[in-house]
Amino acid sequence: MNKILFSSISKKFVMATAGLFLLLFLPVHLLINFMLLKSDPEPFNKAAHFMATFPLVKVFEIVLIGAIMIHITWGIMLQIQNWLARPVGYVSGSKADTSFFSRFMIWTGSSVLIFLVLHFFNFYFVKLGLVPGDAEDFYSIAHNLFKLPMYNYIYLTCFTLLGFHLYHALGSAFQTLGLNHRIWTPVVKVISIIYAILLPAGFAFISISLWLFR
C-alpha cells in the first residue's frame, strides 16, 4: 500500500491537488485584502472575524492548513529524492531549452514558505492566541506592518517569487493530473501566466498603496 501511496506518480498527484487547492484560496484572500484600502477598518475586521468564526470556513481552514502542510512536506520530500537521484552533477551544466521558472520551484516555494511563517506570526497565531495582539483588529496590525519599509521589501520580494512559482504551477498541476490536451493545454498556460501576474500584482498594489500613499 505504501508503494502505491508513495509512488512517484502518487506523490506528484498529492502535490498537484494540494497546490490547486491553495491556488483557489489566494483570490479569496486577495479580495478580503482589498478592504484594507478603505479608511474604515470595519469591513476588513468584519471579514476577518467572519473567516475566523463561521463554522464552514473553520472546516475550510483545517483543509487549507492541511493542504499547505502536505504541499510543503511532499515538495521537500520530492526535492530530496530528486537530488539523491543525481549524486554527481554535470560540469558543463544544463542548457536544455526549458521553462525557466520550472527549474526553481523549490526555491520560489521556499521563499513563499518563509513569508508564510512571518505571516502566521503576524496574524494567524494572533488569532489562535499564541502570539500577543488584538485578534479583532487585524486592520490596524496590517496597516502598522505596511508602514515598515523592511516589511514591504520582504512582502514585495516574496510575492514576486510567488508569481514565479505560480507561473509554472497551474500548467504543471494539469499535466500531472493527466490533463494534457492539444487545445486546452496552451489555454491553461495562458490562464496560468495571467494568474501568475495578476494575483501577486493585486497583493503588491495593496502593499505599495498602504506604504507610500497613506
Partner: protein, 244 residues
C-alpha cells in the same frame, strides 16, 4: 579545425574519475562526432595509452547505444539527433568541448563515458510487453485501429531507450522513457488487455531502481533525440490513476 576536448575518464565503477584534456588539431568539419573520438582513440592507442571508452553500435541514430553529455546537452547541442549523427561542422575552431557520461544514480558509470543502463531493461522486463504467443502473424485487418491512435502509438514506440531524458532531467527522472513504453501499448487494443498490470509494474520498478520524480520542466522533451512528447507522461499518469 583545432578543438580542446575535456573528457571524463574513469577506470571502473569504483574509481573516482576526473576530466582529462586532449588537444585535437586536424578535425575535419565533415567528420561525425564519434569519428572524431575514433581518431582520438587511434592516437591514444598509438601512444600506448588507454583509449576513451564510449558506447556505440548502429551509428544510424536508431539503436540508443551512444550516449554522452556534450557541452550541456545529451547527444550534443543539435536538437532531435543522437550523438552518432552529430557532425563536427556544428563546432567552432578553437572550441572547448566537454564530454561527460549520463549522470543519474540508476546509471552508474562502468568506464569513462559508458554507463550501465540496465535500469531501463528492468523497467521493460517489469511490464513493457504484451503476452501473446509467437507464431503465425494474425490477419492485420482483423482488429481495426484508428489512424490517430496507431500514429500516436508509433510516435511513442520510436523511443530508442538511450536515456537522454534521464540525463537531461534536473531530477534524473525516467518518466518520459517509461511513459513512451506505456503509451505505445496503451493506445492499441492489444495493449489494453494488460494495461493495469503494465502501468503498475513499470512505475513500481521505475521508483525501485531510484530514478527521480518528474516536475514537468520539459528538459526531457527538449533533448529527446526522437522527440518523444510530454503528452506521454500525462497519459501514463492517467493510466496509473485508472489502475488504482
Amino acid at each position: 579545425m583545432k578543438l580542446t576536448l575535456k573528457i571524463w575518464r574513469q577506470k571502473n565503477a569504483k574509481s573516482k574519475g576526473n576530466f582529462e584534456t586532449y588537444q585535437m588539431d586536424n578535425v575535419s568539419p565533415e567528420m561525425a562526432f564519434l569519428e572524431m573520438l575514433d581518431a582520438l582513440n587511434k592516437r591514444l592507442v598509438e601512444e600506448d595509452k588507454d583509449p576513451v571508452a564510449f558506447d556505440h553500435d548502429c551509428r544510424e541514430g536508431i539503436c540508443g547505444s551512444c550516449g554522452m553529455y556534450i557541452n550541456g546537452h545529451p547527444h550534443g547541442p543539435i536538437p532531435a539527433i543522437t550523438t552518432c549523427h552529430l557532425s563536427m561542422r556544428f563546432f567552432k575552431e578553437g572550441q572547448t568541448v566537454w564530454i561527460e557520461p549520463w549522470r543519474a544514480k540508476p546509471f552508474p558509470v562502468i568506464k569513462d563515458l559508458i554507463v550501465d543502463r540496465t535500469a531501463f531493461d528492468k523497467i521493460q522486463i517489469a511490464g513493457g510487453f504484451i503476452s501473446v504467443n509467437t507464431g503465425a502473424a494474425p490477419e492485420a485487418n482483423n482488429i481495426l485501429i484508428r489512424k490517430k491512435d496507431s500514429d500516436n502509438a508509433f510516435d511513442s514506440a520510436i523511443c530508442i531507450g538511450c536515456g537522454a531524458c534521464v540525463a537531461a532531467c534536473k531530477n534524473a527522472s525516467a518518466m518520459l522513457f517509461v511513459s513512451a513504453k506505456i503509451s505505445q501499448f496503451a493506445l492499441l487494443p492489444q495493449g489494453k488487455v494488460e494495461a493495469i498490470d503494465r502501468v503498475r509494474a513499470m512505475v513500481a520498478k521505475m521508483d525501485e531502481v531510484g530514478f527521480g520524480n518528474c516536475s514537468n520542466t520539459g528538459a526531457c522533451e527538449a533533448e529527446c533525440p526522437k522527440q518523444i512528447k510530454l503528452t506521454n507522461i500525462s497519459r501514463m499518469n492517467r493510466e496509473y490513476f485508472k489502475a488504482y
